[in-house]
Symmetry: C2
Subunit: 347 residues, 2 copies
């Protein structure tokens, strides 16, 4: 299914032209945005490589978008020209099904529209994302960005931020809870910041001793090296919640053992087959293994406001668009602390 | 680890003598019970065969016990001579840890005492179960049996009953919910009866067309043949709760697909490694995979009272103790509808 090479052989000029014409005239409820920054998510690479078998070329990735409003449609009242705004993983949904009515547009029963590589309702073809100078987005899907934060470091909140904030809220993480974050990457580093800001005793669980110091700098109270079985055993049955950000299939059994009875480990990274789970690890203390996917627009705004109140941003490394292939390579080798953000001035 | 054959070569008379002396004199809070009936649980076979590597010989299995009180200790006030009573999977716990204080003695932090094959606090050695004429049990762990029910068919409620009732209650199954029960055996047939009695739209999910009619007789509103992929697909994302009673490792992915977003499938049978779970099946709609183990004493009494109110018992086939090896073979080949119960008069 990986037809990226086949695509690369096509006429790139024609592709660029196809991309150019995709910017639509404003509908009544549209917001036009000049893009300032766009985060680089691992999903962008999966999409480019067609790892999920649904890539539509030419792909323009990018769903961690920060920009300024340049124009609004006639019925838009909640955004105005000059506003600092963000766009995350979705740009449209039906807004009227049971999921949308519960502010969970990502599970829209009629299908939400992803920011890129999704069927484009208005122009036909597929949507094009944030590795671009401009984007036009339905007002409901445009987020307000707290202006007191370092703007470029806000971009990753639109995906990595909400992906980790949402499960911590959904499973009611609160002051005094012992919360584990497994894996220290783009998602994991946000998980630590949020759990700590929510008042939890935040524990980084990582294979890498090197990451221990950095985890503490990010807010972890404690670090467990998961390869140290004695250390893991000391923490058995002690966690109130575990956020598992490992982006590939792995053995979840050692982490399930860390949960108290009746508690949950939530996967947010591994959209892949996991290794065998032993039923006893769930049955014997009524434990839960769950998953979570980004979050709705209302909760994404709540997360951004929480970040404004708690001075939370992502740790970013800025790049020019010309560096994107190197950045992709470095993301794949886990060599970034902790998110690349493209300065769109460079485009 | 399977040393059952080695044990069988020992002097059986000595073993029987060891068993005889295990009946203790009554402590102040003890209840002496003459056993009338004892259900045959698959766990009994796992124990006999040392499948879980912790068997202590001589084993006397049996944790689905019905009998009459013959004597009580001086401080026992809640049971009296002549009462119809039951004993399930536990006969003791500390009764004073956080789990016990929340009426979940099975998760006693100091270790609950299983009805058989567990360390015996009073006599040393290990506890001996219900394949026997008598048992002495701490009063807190003795259940009151509704007298209006068919007594011999109540026995399996003490394990198969509470194991299925507890998760249905814990995940708040209620009138109008669409509830799936996967697997039709000792546990599954109780799951159907309970879910139907709770007012759920109860759906049997089975590989076997033969079981469809019987599932309906037991109370299922509908049957899905899990091998029929089109039929399974029709029910995708439609279940409020699934009780998975399959007793062996299996592929849970097709069942996870049946759940609505934010809902749970609970394992109660497979104390074994499951086949690979795909992370996407949990992540994409925030689904949960959980497990559950029997239930506490308070909830077990609640379940028995519920059965009294709703005229629920197990479907049983009565055997004499002399038939136990045949019964074990038939349980292993899934040839019982749906629980063997030993008439202890035969011993």
């Amino acid at each position: 299914m990986k037809d990226v090479k086949a695509y690369a052989a096509q006429d790139k000029d024609a592709a660029l032209q196809e991309i150019q014409i995709k910017r639509r005239d404003l509908l009544d409820n549209d917001v036009a945005i000049d893009i300032m920054y766009c985060g680089v998510c691992h999903s962008d690479i999966h999409a480019k490589l067609n790892d999920w078998g649904n890539a539509k070329y030419p792909i323009v990735p990018g769903h961690e978008i920060i920009g300024k409003v340049t124009a609004v449609g006639s019925s838009v009242s909640n955004h105005k020209v000059g506003d600092l705004v963000g766009v995350g993983c979705m740009v449209d949904s039906c807004t009227d099904c049971s999921a949308c009515n519960e502010d969970m547009e990502m599970w829209c029963e009629n299908g939400s529209t992803s920011t890129y590589n999704s069927k484009d309702k208005h122009l036909g073809g597929h949507t094009l994302g944030g590795y671009s100078k401009h984007i036009v987005v339905r007002d409901h899907f445009v987020l307000k960005i707290p202006t007191q934060l370092d703007t470029k470091a806000v971009a990753p909140l639109l995906c990595a931020g909400i992906t980790t904030y949402s499960p911590l809220k959904h499973w009611n993480v609160k002051k005094g809870d012992k919360v584990g974050v497994v894996g220290l990457g783009g998602l994991g580093h946000m998980g630590i910041k949020f759990a700590a800001a929510m008042g939890a005793e935040t524990v980084m669980i990582t294979t890498s001793e090197e990451k221990a110091q950095d985890a503490k700098r990010l807010g972890a109270n404690q670090v467990i090296i998961s390869k140290d079985l004695d250390q893991m055993k000391e923490h058995n049955n002690s966690f109130d919640f575990i956020l598992n950000t490992i982006p590939v299939g792995h053995d979840v059994n050692p982490y399930l053992a860390l949960l108290k009875r009746d508690r949950t480990m939530c996967l947010v990274g591994a959209i892949e087959p996991l290794e065998n789970i032993h039923g006893a690890n769930l049955i014997l203390r009524r434990k839960n293994l769950a998953g979570s996917l980004i979050g709705g627009i209302k909760e994404t705004q709540e997360m951004l406001d929480f970040c404004g109140d708690h001075n939370i941003t992502s740790d970013v490394e800025m790049i020019d668009i010309q560096d994107i292939n190197t950045a992709f390579d470095r993301v794949q080798s886990n060599d970034v602390k902790y998110r690349f953000v493209i300065d769109m001035e460079s485009l």
